[in-house]
Symmetry: C2
Subunit: 240 residues, 2 copies
Amino acid sequence: MVKYKEVAKELRKRIKNGLYPIDTALPDQKTMAVEFETSRVTIKKALDLLSVEGLVYTIQGSGTYIKKNIHQLTDSRIRIGQNVGLTHQVEKKASLTNEVLSFIVRFPNEEECDQLLLHSENPVYEIQRLRILDQKPYSIEYSVIPVEIVPNITKKILKSSVYDYIREKLGLVFGGNRQIIKAAQPDKNDQKYLNCHETEPVLEVIKVMFLENGTPFEFSKVRHRFDMVEISFFSGRNEF
Amino acid sequence: MVKYKEVAKELRKRIKNGLYPIDTALPDQKTMAVEFETSRVTIKKALDLLSVEGLVYTIQGSGTYIKKNIHQLTDSRIRIGQNVGLTHQVEKKASLTNEVLSFIVRFPNEEECDQLLLHSENPVYEIQRLRILDQKPYSIEYSVIPVEIVPNITKKILKSSVYDYIREKLGLVFGGNRQIIKAAQPDKNDQKYLNCHETEPVLEVIKVMFLENGTPFEFSKVRHRFDMVEISFFSGRNEF
DNA sequence: TAGTGGTCTAGACCACCCT
DNA sequence: GGGTGGTCTAGACCACTAA
């Protein structure tokens, strides 16, 4: 693990544990450089990471500050943060559960081979899950994952978090993703599982996830009820 | 202008002009450092910028390469790139025009004061525009801009590009933005201007744009026809 | 194994904030 | 003017790719 990521990790932990009072500046870069026995440039790189993740912002000549909770403003929708490095950060609301609708192994089709850089003989998992919040289904997910890269998936894993399994049990490191977002009319499954009326649209997100080394490990399509999910993100540096 | 941004600007120009053959590596960082009379770290920072913008990707131990056209894949929808630093990059399609539905000056309401960091006495422009592609309206935009920051807007400017005006005529530099994306049912205006049937949803994007120094200069809501616009973006470094 | 990108350092200078 | 972040340099070492 490189140094600036380790520093970022430690700072992330401290912020989460509330070790730094909100609305006050973090220690200045020079001080932190001494504490972490590194150079100021490395501290800066770590802070840049946290800034992209939306945890902190810096004001030149003043200091680095912890962001007040960006998420949860007024709306009761679930808000999915985007520029959030590795953690897929659905807000911890009351009772989030997954129902597994279907879980099979098969060979990939042409598009899947394309997106996941596979041969047609490499088997993949095909997973359909329903996301449920307080008894109310809000998203349906179709996910395709190569068996070779993410082996030994079980129903139990599907009921909690595949991403946690990949990171924590397999020790793989996420690298990034590519996404396409659109609005769509409800199809049969949306009507059946998400209780969408004909006039109630879905927010569709198609995503390819990559490991740190660039290997794609998941090709997924998620359809969200329009009134329960929205996506927020920011690009740029500061206190936006 | 700082050095790494200048280098990035020059490289951007060269890439656009096709000075570097596609599918071949760019000159290596050390060579470029000599050419631009700077250090390798600075070159790296410039390349990082271009990477975030989706223009190039790098492979450690191999080189830096120009990306093939990410946009325009199969779909006939307009695809709006997101991680595209400063240029709002709608694809240059046949005939894109703007129709100005309404253009007035007024005082801001509470939410607008909040988002744009204004006093309620600072006047704002309120702009409604219709985006049209080949005679077909595809998006309706509601935009609020402080008069103080972006003075002298005219109908002529609205017919082309406000962003171009801000950048080129006023010489302001964009810094970033914050966005929220959701799917929504069509409202009266969507039905009227975008010809949305009751069952044809819209993709709604609420956005706050910032200048480089962190000043917000636009608060906007755009509603896109579901079958004509989608949003794509990538996070992470490489050749995704 | 040579070439290339990724990270890191120590020190420097500048721009900006705040008092 | 003192404190703080932003940028830059020159040189070093490591990790990865490609031959």
